[in-house]
C-alpha cells in the first residue's frame, strides 16, 4: 500500500508540474488566449464545435461559450447585463428588440472583411429588423414549410397550408409547439399578417387552429423530424434546415413552401453594447462568415447559410428560395408586451381545449 501511495504521489506531482509548465508555455508562447477572451452566447449546438478550437488557433483569442435555448432566455441576460458577453447569436425579431433598447453596438465592417461573402438574397429581410445590416450579420436562415411523406399522402399534391386541415390526415399531422408560428400558419390561410395585433383577427385564427386540433398528432419542435423519419407522422410543419438531414434518412420525405407564403427567419450574430472585447467579437463573426467555416457549419447543421462561397451547396429551392417566393414571406416582429399578453391568452385557450 505504501509503495502504491508513493507512486501515486509521484505521478500526481509529475502531472501537476507538466500541467503548470504547459499552462505557462501556452501563455508566453503566443497561442490560445494571448489576445484575451471572447465571450460568446449562442443557441445550443448551433455551429460545428470543432470551429471553436480552429478560431482560437487562428486568432489567439480564448473563447468562452455559453448556451441558451430560446431568444426569450437570452433577452433578460443581455438586458440586465447579468453576464458580460461580447458576441451573441439571436433571431431577427430579438435583434430588432435589442437594437431598439440600445443593447447592441454597431459593427465595424473594417474588422469583418468576410461580410462581402454574404449572399444578396438574405439582405431584403434584414430591412425588416436591422436596416442596412448595421448591428447584425447572418448566421443561418430558413423558412417554415410542410414536410411530408410522399407515400403516406399517396402522392397527393401538398402545396397549401389548408392541407393541414384535411381530415384525411387525422392523427398524422405534427404542428409546431410554438405560439407565433401557429398563428403565422392560421394567418396565411385567412390572409392576415403574422404580426397583426387586431384582437378580432387573433380570435378568428384561434378558432381556425382549434378546428384543426383534433387532427393534430403532436405539437413538437425539435422532435418533429424524428417523427417524420420514423413515419409516425405524414405531415409536419418544420423549418427548411431540417430537410436535407431527414431526406438522407428517409427518401420518401419531401418539403414544400406553401403557396400562401410563409415566415422567413434569420438568426444573426451581433456584438453587445456592453462589449469588453469588440475586436474579438468581430473577429468571431468574421470567422463565422469565412467560406470554409460556412461549409463546415452547413455540413454540421444542414441549415442554409447565406454565404456566396457555398452557393453551389445550397443551390436548391428549399434552402435558397426564389425572390418570388420570398416576396410572399413575412418576418416575425415584436408586438410589445400588451399584444404578447393577448396572444398568450388566446394560445392558452388553444392549449387547454
Amino acid at each position: 500500500m505504501r509503495t502504491f501511495k508513493k507512486a501515486a504521489a509521484l505521478i500526481m506531482a509529475v502531472v501537476v508540474t507538466v500541467g503548470l509548465m504547459a499552462g505557462c508555455g501556452g501563455n508566453t508562447g503566443g497561442e490560445k488566449g494571448q489576445n484575451g477572451q471572447v465571450y460568446v452566447y449562442c443557441f445550443g449546438d448551433y455551429f460545428d464545435p470543432e470551429l471553436e478550437y480552429e478560431f482560437e488557433e487562428k486568432t489567439g483569442y480564448d473563447v468562452i461559450i455559453d448556451y441558451f435555448d430560446t431568444n426569450e432566455e437570452l433577452y433578460p441576460v443581455i438586458k440586465n447585463n447579468t453576464a458580460q458577453y461580447d458576441v451573441i447569436c439571436a433571431s431577427d425579431y430579438m435583434i430588432a428588440k435589442l437594437i431598439d433598447e440600445g443593447l447592441l453596438s454597431e459593427i465595424n465592417y473594417d474588422n469583418v472583411p468576410n461580410a462581402s461573402n454574404i449572399a444578396e438574397n438574405v439582405k431584403p429581410s434584414f430591412e425588416e429588423f436591422d436596416p442596412g445590416m448595421k448591428y447584425s450579420l447572418p448566421h443561418t436562415w430558413g423558412t417554415y414549410g410542410i414536410m411530408y411523406n410522399k407515400s403516406m399522402v399517396n402522392g397527393a399534391d401538398i402545396d397549401s397550408w389548408t392541407d393541414l386541415w384535411d381530415e384525411k390526415y387525422a392523427e398524422q399531422i405534427v404542428m409546431p409547439d410554438s405560439m407565433r408560428e401557429m398563428y403565422m400558419i392560421a394567418g396565411k390561410i385567412l390572409g392576415y399578417s403574422m404580426n397583426t395585433t387586431d384582437e378580432k383577427e387573433v380570435t378568428e385564427m384561434t378558432d381556425l387552429l382549434l378546428k384543426q386540433k383534433p387532427l393534430v398528432y403532436k405539437l413538437a419542435n425539435d422532435s418533429a423530424r424524428e417523427l417524420m423519419i420514423g413515419e409516425s407522422a405524414a405531415l409536419a410543419v418544420i423549418t427548411s434546415g431540417e430537410v436535407l438531414y431527414s431526406q438522407e434518412l428517409n427518401e420518401n420525405i419531401d418539403f414544400v413552401i406553401p403557396k400562401e407564403g410563409t415566415e422567413v427567419w434569420t438568426d444573426c450574430w451581433a456584438v453587445t453594447a456592453n462589449v469588453t472585447n469588440k475586436e474579438g467579437g468581430e473577429a468571431w463573426i468574421n470567422f463565422m462568415l469565412d467560406g470554409d467555416v460556412a461549409e463546415d457549419n452547413f455540413e454540421y447543421l444542414t441549415y442554409a447559410i447565406p454565404n456566396t462561397q457555398i452557393a453551389d451547396l445550397t443551390d436548391n429551392p428549399v434552402l435558397n428560395p426564389s425572390a418570388e417566393v420570398l416576396a410572399k414571406c413575412e418576418t416575425l416582429k415584436n408586438l410589445g408586451a400588451e399584444a404578447d399578453d393577448m396572444y398568450s391568452r388566446y394560445w392558452k385557450e388553444y392549449k387547454s381545449k
Partner: protein
C-alpha cells in the same frame, strides 16, 4: 473559543447556502409575483390562478398527480412487503436494483418512453409482429401518468420499505398468536405502523407530479397542458415573469400543505432517507 461558537462556525456554510439558495430566490420570486411589468404592486398574478385556463390546467394537474400517486401507492406497498421478506441475496441488493434507474437522468428515461410509445415505436412494432392490438396512448394524459409513475415510483417504494423493515417482527408474531388472520395483520399492524412511510411516499410522488412540465411536454405531445407547462411558458416564451412567479407562489401552497402532512405523520423521519 467556546463550544457553541465552534458549533456556530460549522453551521456557517449551511446558513450561507440556505440564504443564497433558498431565501433570496424566494424573495425574488415573491417580488416578481406581487408586481406587474412596471414594478407596481398587484395581486393579479396570484388571482390569475382562478382564471379559466389556469384553473383548468391546475385541475388537470391535480387529477393526474392524484391518479399517479394512487397507482404508485398500490404498486409500492405490496412491493415493500415483498422486499421486506425477500430472501434473495442481501436485502440491500433488491432495493439497490430499484434505485438503480434513478442514477440515470430522469429526462433521458422519459425520452426513452417517448421512443418506446411512439406510433411506430418499439412497443407497437413488437405488438404488431405478434398480431396484438396496438397501444395508442402517446400524446394523451395516459402516457403522462405512465411517465409520472415510472419516474417517481422509487420515491414511494423507499420510504414505505424503510417503514416496513423497522416494524418489530415480534409484533406480527404476537398478532398471529392472538388469532389474527393475514388480512387482519395487514390492516391492524402493518399498515398503521407504516403510515409515516406512506405519507412521505405520497408527498414525494404527489408534489413533483403536480408541478412537472417535462413529462407532460415529452409524453403529452404538447397537448396535455399542466400548470407546470403554463408557468414554464410564461418564463421561456411569453416573457411574463411576473405571471409565472405569481402562479409559482400559488403552487407553493401545495408544497406547504404536504410539508405540514409530513410533519404530522412522519416523526421518525423516513422521508429524510432520500
Amino acid at each position: 473559543m467556546t463550544k457553541s461558537a465552534i458549533k456556530r462556525l460549522f453551521s456557517g456554510p449551511f446558513l450561507a447556502f440556505i440564504l443564497c439558495g433558498t431565501l433570496v430566490p424566494l424573495v425574488v420570486i415573491a417580488f416578481y409575483g406581487f408586481t406587474d411589468r412596471s414594478g407596481a404592486f398587484t395581486l393579479d398574478n396570484i388571482m390569475a390562478i382562478a382564471g379559466g385556463h389556469h384553473a383548468q390546467a391546475l385541475g388537470l394537474s391535480l387529477a393526474l398527480a392524484l391518479i399517479s400517486t394512487l397507482i404508485c401507492l398500490l404498486l409500492a406497498f405490496p412491493l415493500g412487503l415483498i422486499l421486506k421478506d425477500s430472501k434473495i441475496g442481501k436485502k440491500g441488493f433488491m432495493v439497490f436494483v430499484f434505485i438503480l434507474p434513478m442514477w440515470m437522468n430522469f429526462l433521458l428515461r422519459t425520452m426513452a418512453w417517448q421512443v418506446l410509445l411512439e406510433k411506430n415505436g418499439i412497443i407497437n412494432i413488437a405488438l404488431k409482429s405478434l398480431g396484438l392490438p396496438l397501444l395508442d396512448i402517446i400524446n394523451t394524459p395516459a402516457a403522462v401518468v405512465l411517465g409520472m409513475v415510472y419516474d417517481y415510483l422509487p420515491f414511494m417504494v423507499l420510504p414505505i420499505y424503510n417503514a416496513l423493515i423497522k416494524i418489530d417482527h415480534s409484533l406480527i408474531e404476537a398478532a398471529y398468536d392472538l388469532g389474527a388472520g393475514k388480512g387482519l395483520v395487514l390492516r391492524k399492524v402493518l399498515i398503521p405502523l407504516s403510515v409515516p412511510g406512506i405519507v412521505s411516499g405520497i408527498t414525494m410522488v404527489f408534489v413533483p407530479s403536480l408541478t412537472t412540465f417535462a413529462i407532460s411536454t415529452m409524453l403529452g405531445g404538447g397537448k396535455v397542458n399542466l400548470i407546470g407547462n403554463i408557468i414554464e411558458q410564461e418564463f421561456t416564451v411569453s416573457s411574463n415573469w411576473n405571471l409565472g412567479a405569481g402562479l409559482s407562489l400559488v403552487m407553493m401552497i401545495f408544497i406547504v400543505i404536504s410539508m405540514a402532512l409530513i410533519e404530522k405523520f412522519d416523526r421518525e423521519g423516513e422521508g429524510s432517507m432520500i
